[in-house]
Each structure stands twice: as structure tokens, then as C-alpha cells.
């Protein structure tokens, strides 16, 4: 049990840190270059020089395009028709075809985005080269240049965004499971009946259950934070005491919900299923993977009832933005109210009678 409680967060953070990255790099790409000219090879080279694409195969026949996509050897195929360079040289629009595996629509969009950027850069360079040669004055034609700065996650490392979220996932599932098992387990082994005939008050029993699990969850937060910060260099810009305080407030909601489940369910199996019934929707609607702003309006309102959503906001803000109570107090207040309500409900629901 001790192993599971303390080793599993570390294993999960390692998996998330190393494997589960949303950064799309090394996209396997096949090239079908019928034109095979200096220009077409230049474009191909631009793709490989960007860190995003990796050429896995050069195709020599049209039917191979279908084949590599079908077999997943490549996520996209770059195709130059005959006459590509002739068009360019002859000042006509030259076409390139990009066949993209759209199964993962999100990745497909990113691939198209990267490709557009590469082609845009190629065009700009080509334009500048020619302008230099023929029309030096073209250089002073004004044009708009967008310079972007990414605050809080300067290099857009998705790990920085996701690892703090992993804290939320692990703390949630652990505290929910442990507390949901707590009372049900005692019902199953028969100690609950014994506790009921004792003068122990319901709130004393609830506190007795909540405090140890709260401590375990805090230790897990420390573990994940240390590994995330020191090993994966995820920045921790905000205050560590604030991280703990908001975690404690959040734990009131999950431990309260777990205990509530525990008082309702008769068996540990039932409790476990109920936890997942709560956990999965809460995770999906928390903004961990899918932005809340993309959800239908009615679902967006529904997420306001999801404690995980607030904690995730707080955690990301503390880690990446480094903001403090002045910014986060409303999320913390909502969590506190939810948590107090949950604990109260579970103590109320836990009447010291059977059936």
C-alpha cells in the first residue's frame, strides 16, 4: 500500500514528463517528388531542417502514397508534380500537394500549420532573393511583421503546461479512492458496526478519516512538485505555501466527495465504480486536456460545478504565472465553499445507524 501511494505518483509523472507530450515533432513524412529539381529539393530540405518533420520514405510511384498513409509509415506525404520548378522560374504559381492523415484531427491541423509556415518562409526568402537581384528598392516597401512573445511558457513546452496538471489528476484520484474506500472498508470488515456502538461522534470519525488522507495527498504533491521542478525543469514561480494551502482546500472537496460515496455504497467495488463515475467527467471537464472555452456554452456552465477546474486553474497559475492570492482568491473561495459543503454532507449522511 505504501508503495502504491508513493511510487505511483512518481511513475505517473515520469510517464507524463517523458512520453505524454503534446508537442508534435519528428512527424513522419514521405516525399513523392516527380519534379525532382533544385527547387523541389530546396522545399523538401526546408521541411527536414525544421525539427518538425522527419522524412521516412521517398516514394517513386503514385500508388505508394496511399500505401504509406494506410500503413501509418507517414502522417503526411509531400508531393511535387512535374513542372513545379518550371512554374516557379516562369513566374507562375507553383503547386505542392500535402496529403495529411486526418485521423487525429488535432495533429493534422498542426501539421498543416507547420507546413504553411515553412512554405511562407520559403516564399519570403525567394521574394527577397529576387528583389535583391532585380529591384533593390522593393526592400523598403513597408510590410507587417508579427513578432510573438509567449508569456509564462516562453518556449511553448507542453510539458510545462501538463505536468502541473498531473498534480491535479494524481491528487484527485488518490484522495477520492482512499476516502471512498475508507468507510465502506470498515463496513465490509465489520469494524463500522463496532464504531457505531461507541460514543464516537460522526464528525470525529470523519475528521479521523480525512486528516491522514490529507497528509498523504500533501506528501504526493511535494513528491510531484520536486520531481517536476528539479528533474523536468517545470518552473515553479509562485509561492509554495500557497500551493499547499490551495491543495488543502481542494482536498476538502475530493475527500468530502469520497467519504460521501463511502457512506452511500455498500461494497468497496461499488465505491470504486462510483469514484470513476465522478472522476472521469470531472477530469474531462476540468480543462486538463480540452480547453473549457471550446466546449458548448451549457457544458461551460456545468464546469463551474467542477472543483477540479478551479484547482487546475490555481495550480497552473502558481506554477507558470507565479500569481498569488490577489488573483486566485475567488477560485479558492469557491473551492472552500464546495469543500465545506462536501464534508458537511458526508458527516450528515453518515448517521450512526444501520440501514
Amino acid at each position: 500500500m505504501k508503495m502504491i501511494i508513493f511510487v505511483s505518483p512518481v511513475v505517473q509523472i515520469l510517464i507524463f514528463g517523458y512520453a505524454a507530450t503534446m508537442d508534435i515533432t519528428n512527424i513522419p513524412m514521405a516525399v513523392y517528388d516527380v519534379d525532382n529539381t533544385k527547387e523541389s529539393r530546396e522545399v523538401t530540405r526546408d521541411f527536414t531542417y525544421s525539427k518538425y518533420f522527419k522524412i521516412t520514405k521517398y516514394l517513386s510511384e503514385e500508388k505508394e502514397v496511399q500505401h504509406v498513409i494506410d500503413h501509418g509509415r507517414a502522417l503526411c506525404v509531400l508531393k511535387f508534380d512535374r513542372g513545379f520548378s518550371q512554374n516557379l522560374v516562369g513566374n507562375r504559381t507553383a503547386h505542392i500537394q500535402l496529403v495529411v492523415d486526418g485521423t487525429d484531427s488535432n495533429a493534422a491541423q498542426i501539421i498543416v500549420g507547420y507546413s504553411n509556415q515553412i512554405i511562407l518562409d520559403y516564399n519570403n526568402r525567394a521574394l527577397q532573393d529576387r528583389a535583391h537581384v532585380y529591384l533593390t528598392r522593393l526592400n523598403i516597401v513597408p510590410y507587417v511583421d508579427l513578432r510573438d512573445r509567449h508569456w509564462f511558457n516562453e518556449n511553448l513546452i507542453s510539458r510545462n503546461y501538463y505536468l502541473p496538471g498531473v498534480i491535479v489528476l494524481i491528487v484527485s484520484i488518490m484522495s477520492l479512492l482512499l476516502s471512498a474506500m475508507a468507510i465502506v472498508r470498515e463496513k465490509e470488515i465489520g469494524t463500522m458496526e463496532q464504531l457505531m456502538v461507541s460514543p464516537l461522534k460522526p464528525i470525529e470519525l470523519i475528521i479521523g478519516k480525512v486528516v491522514p488522507f490529507g497528509i498523504i495527498a500533501l506528501v504526493q504533491v511535494i513528491l510531484i512538485t520536486v520531481v517536476g521542478n528539479l528533474w523536468f525543469n517545470v518552473p515553479l514561480r509562485g509561492s509554495i505555501p500557497l500551493l499547499f494551502i490551495s491543495t488543502l482546500i481542494y482536498l476538502m472537496t475530493t475527500l468530502g466527495a469520497g467519504l460521501l460515496i463511502s457512506t452511500i455504497c455498500a461494497t468497496q467495488q461499488e465505491a470504486m465504480m462510483s469514484v470513476f463515475l465522478f472522476y472521469f467527467p470531472a477530469t474531462l471537464l476540468s480543462g486538463f486536456a480540452y480547453p473549457i472555452a471550446n466546449m458548448p456554452v451549457i457544458i461551460q456552465y456545468l464546469t463551474l460545478l467542477n472543483p477540479m477546474r478551479y484547482y487546475l486553474t490555481i495550480i497552473r497559475a502558481i506554477f507558470l504565472k507565479g500569481v498569488g492570492v490577489a488573483v486566485l482568491w475567488d477560485e479558492m473561495t469557491v473551492l472552500f465553499i464546495m469543500g465545506a459543503f462536501m464534508i458537511f454532507m458526508s458527516a450528515k449522511r453518515f448517521r450512526k445507524t444501520i440501514g
Binding site: 463500522m192 458496526e193 463496532q194 456502538v197 461507541s198 445507524t353 440501514g355
Partner: protein, 246 residues
């Protein structure tokens, strides 16, 4: 003054009447045996009297406390050992006892002496450091009893405590009970072993929630003209069933 008293105590679960208008009075220091077939309502009666199950109708008092309105102060004075006494199997014998001592706020000054006495009585002293989960069935029940007695209750409820317990442990068990009776502890004992029922001061026969007879074992045998309680109960239940079917 009766230590346990009920008037028309009734508990229904849906259509099933588990305890049907139960009226009993048990004086201080008596050991009362509640006997009856499985599903007769013995455990439900126990739970009603210990304040962990609310009655549908009727009332009851234990040690002068109303079983619903004063359930919390009632609990300071009683002990209840359920059929499957809940021990924490991942704690040792002594840790289990200490846990119950903590819950009942047994003062430290009295604790050591009490624990020693209880362990001595139940012959568990050599197994003090053994995990409760590794005790034999009989030892588990004796440990359950030791835990239940740590706060010196005035009334003791035992729900089939010796089911599946070996004869030696059973003898230990009854020796402890006799010592308690000397200290004026009232014991409410449910059992399906009729030889144990014979050792009770009075026995109540419960069948389908109804208390059919309640008297000393001798009286019951005399009244039915039988030699053993077993025969007596078979004849009483048979009589009840035939009367009902008519």
C-alpha cells in the same frame, strides 16, 4: 429496576417484520439468552437495543437511557459484540485493544491494569504482538470480547459470539462471562447453541420476529414436558406454526 426494558418494540424492513412487538424486562446482573433459528430477528433486536438501528414502533430503555432519544449516552455504558466482531486485522492484538481504549477514552492510569487483566482472562497474553488477522477463530472472538470490555460496560450485548469457536475457547469465554456477572454486569446473549442457552438465567425464544416464550430453561422444559431445551423449542415452534395455519 430493569436494566433492559422494551415495550412493543417493532422493526420492519419493507414488508418483513424483523422484530414484532417485543416486550422484555431484564433485571441487573442477569444473563439473558435470546435463542431462535437463523433469521428470527436476534441480530435486529441487538441492533435496536444498542441504538444503531431505529425502531419502526415501540420503545426501549437500556440502563435507563432511551434507545433512540438517548442513544449517545447509552453508548458510554454498553458494549456490543456483533456476530463478526470487527477487528483491525492489520493491527496487533494489543494495538486493537488500545484502539478501542482510545475510542472510549479509557484513562491511561487504568489502562495497563485493565489490559493485563483482560488479556490474562482470555489467555491472549502470549499473543499480544500477533496481528489480529493471524489469530484463530476462537482467539479472534476472545480478543473481540476483550476490546468490548475495555471500558467496563454495565450492559453487554453478545450476538452469537461463540459461533464456530472451539470448545476450549468457548470455556474461556464463559469463564469471563461468569466473572462479569459477579460484577453485576447485565448480559444479553444471543445464540443458536442450546447448551449455551441452558447456562443462561432466562431464555427468550424468538421466531419470525415474535417472542414465543420467555422464562428460565427449567420452567420452559417443565411446561412443555420435554427433557431438553431443543425438544422444547421444536415443540413450541411447531405449535405456533400449526396454530397460524389454522
Amino acid at each position: 429496576m430493569a436494566v433492559i426494558k422494551t415495550t412493543n418494540l417493532t422493526r420492519k424492513f419493507g414488508d418483513l417484520t424483523a422484530v414484532d412487538n417485543l416486550n422484555i424486562e431484564i433485571p441487573e446482573g442477569e444473563i439473558f439468552g435470546l435463542v431462535g433459528p437463523d433469521g428470527a430477528g436476534k441480530t435486529t433486536t441487538m441492533r435496536l437495543l444498542t441504538g444503531i438501528l431505529d425502531p419502526t414502533a415501540g420503545e426501549g430503555w437500556v440502563y435507563g437511557r432511551h434507545i433512540v432519544k438517548e442513544a449517545e449516552t447509552l453508548k458510554d455504558n454498553i458494549a456490543y459484540m456483533s456476530q463478526r466482531f470487527g477487528l483491525y486485522e492489520d493491527l496487533t492484538v494489543i494495538e486493537n485493544i488500545n484502539f478501542y481504549a482510545d475510542i472510549y477514552c479509557v484513562p491511561d492510569s487504568e489502562r495497563a491494569a485493565k489490559i493485563e487483566k483482560l488479556l490474562g482472562f482470555s489467555n491472549l497474553t502470549p499473543f499480544k504482538e500477533r496481528l489480529a488477522g493471524r489469530l484463530s477463530g476462537g482467539m479472534k472472538q476472545k480478543l473481540g470480547l476483550a476490546c468490548a470490555l475495555i471500558h467496563t460496560p454495565k450492559v453487554l450485548f453478545l450476538d452469537e459470539p461463540t459461533n464456530g469457536v472451539d470448545p476450549v475457547s468457548r470455556r474461556d469465554f464463559w469463564r469471563i462471562l461468569h466473572n462479569l456477572l459477579k460484577e453485576k454486569v447485565t448480559i444479553f446473549y444471543s445464540t443458536s447453541y442450546l447448551d449455551e442457552a441452558e447456562r443462561c438465567k432466562r431464555v427468550g425464544l424468538i421466531h419470525k420476529g415474535r417472542l414465543l416464550r420467555c422464562d428460565t430453561p427449567e420452567e420452559i422444559k417443565k411446561e412443555t414436558g420435554t427433557k431438553s431445551l431443543e425438544e422444547a423449542f421444536v415443540s413450541i415452534i411447531g405449535e405456533y406454526e400449526s396454530a397460524k395455519s389454522v
